[in-house]
Amino acid sequence: MKKNLMDMEDSQKGVIISLEGGNFFRNKLSSMGISEGAKIKKITGHFIGGPVIIKVKNTEIAVGRGMAEKIIVEVKEKG
């Protein structure tokens, strides 16, 4: 199932399938290891406009909401 990072649930895992943005955006994310094909785990979301915390390539990263909405993940069904 496809979901963006905002819609994923806490501690859900998946694989990034697309980054919906321009080159600058894609480069910025990619240089930190957030790229198509990368395994990703959502650690926690935040209320009042705070960021989403994810884990990619053994690194925890805080990603702002606007950016999180543009990161599309193929989510593993629980089980």
Binding site: K28, L29, S30, S31, G37, I43, H46, K57, T59
Partner: protein, 568 residues
Amino acid sequence: MRKILLMGNPNVGKSAVFSRLTGVNVIASNYPGTTVEFTKGYMFIEGEKVEVIDVPGVYGIKAASRAEEVALNMLEEGDIILNIVDSTKLERNLNLTLSLIKTGKPMLIVLNMWDEIKHRGIKIDRDAFEKILGVPAVSVCALTGEGINVLHGRVNESAVSSFDGGKEDRWKEIGKIIEKVQTLSHRHHTLMETLGDASVNPYTGFPIALLTGFVSFKIIRFIGEGLIGNFFEPLFEKLWLPLIMKLSALIGVETLAGKIIVGKLIDGEVDFVQSMGLLTTGLFVPIAMVLPYVFAFYLILSFLEDSGYLPRLGILLDGFMHKIGLHGLAIIPMILGLGCNVPAALSTRILETRRERFIAATLMAIAVPCMAQIAMIVGLAGKFGAGALALIFGTLFAVWLILGVLQNLLIKGDSPEIFVEIPPYRLPYFNALLKKVLMRIRWFLSEALPFVMAGVLVVNFLYALGIISFIGKIFRPVITGVMGLPEEAAAALVIGFLRKDVAVGMLAPLGLSMKQLVIASVALTMYFPCVATFAVLIKELGWKDMLLSTAVMIVSTVFVSGLLNIIL
């Protein structure tokens, strides 16, 4: 002279390696963006003196912030690149490594934090790694110094890499390398990791933040007050005072030398706060009143930095910081500013846009008092009880908040969102922590003592020449009319340019009421940064923005102190 660049992703320990190689001490912390400027040092390789440059961290070879720009401009000039890599995050780090390889410069890879991989269930085949990339790879632990000798001995083996990744997707390329050199074994969450996640989770994070803040505050007060009351005050009163009295009798109270060195006597006695002599107030204020708090603050700050808590606090407050046109990481200049505004002004470089840097620098300079000033305010206004202190710092916080919201509304543009790597929690390494605190204390003393002395001297001359009363008369409408302060408070405002701690001390002899002291303390914080901060801000913001920022400071000072004068 050959130049060796230390390059790598943020927070991989470049500064720690740099200190080990050159013996030059630089501040290293556990969060990305500690180094915002390059630092130079020297070392000898087989008798040859070479320059070593600690470069701010970058993720790729395109700049995303001022600090990254600084780093990438350096790249051209280097003869050898020591690519520092966090061994626990080898895959992520290799992106930059491959980009650096493409520059065609001789390289050596430093696998830092080698000691940590074992208990993280990671195995790296160093020899295979060397073979694939065709450059030497040395494993070290910069924090303890392990492996640094080997590194030093192999710098000359640096080679231009023969690696050719072809045209494939970068991360696929890296995936192939990782497959060959790294094996992971499953392991459970460590306590540190669980704690790390809990402090960024909104439900557990806010209570943790409150608790951390409360405990930090208690410890700083306990150490600060304890050192002053039990050590420094007795030291000055029992040991220094008799010496000064003898000296005073020797050179005479009314001579010029007496006035400058000992200062004026209050009721026939030396008063360390009010006498304004070089060897009385000039020593007592920085050492007995300010230093204990500065020490306590930096002890706590360094602990929070090295543990990895600071960026987590930023993440937690991110949503809130958006309301003032900043994102969570801007909390770092604010917290550093509580120690000293100078490094705080520099640290605004971790922010991406000119808009953010302007807002952050202005807010920090206006509403964040440095520890030297805080200590003096606590010393003076504390006599009126906790209420007076709450009023002063509460007002400053309100100013910070309101000015932030206003700037966010009035300044064109948007601020980018937070996008930051969260460092793992680490138990601070005691020796490194201690070294860092001592470094900051030494820096404080070498900055503060000359400026305090200069301030004390200038006060004496300005009084003697009648300049203070002249300025007081000119600004009487504002100082007395709007702020409700006596004309003599002008002297403190003048000296505030040089040192804010001396300036607050100058309020002592004026016999101010609680209300007046609150207004004067708030005004002294807000109206203008001290000269050292001012110089850095001009460099960071440019003249035009700094002029604008200064206008904001002066206007809001008059407005806020006028308002306080009416409502209190």
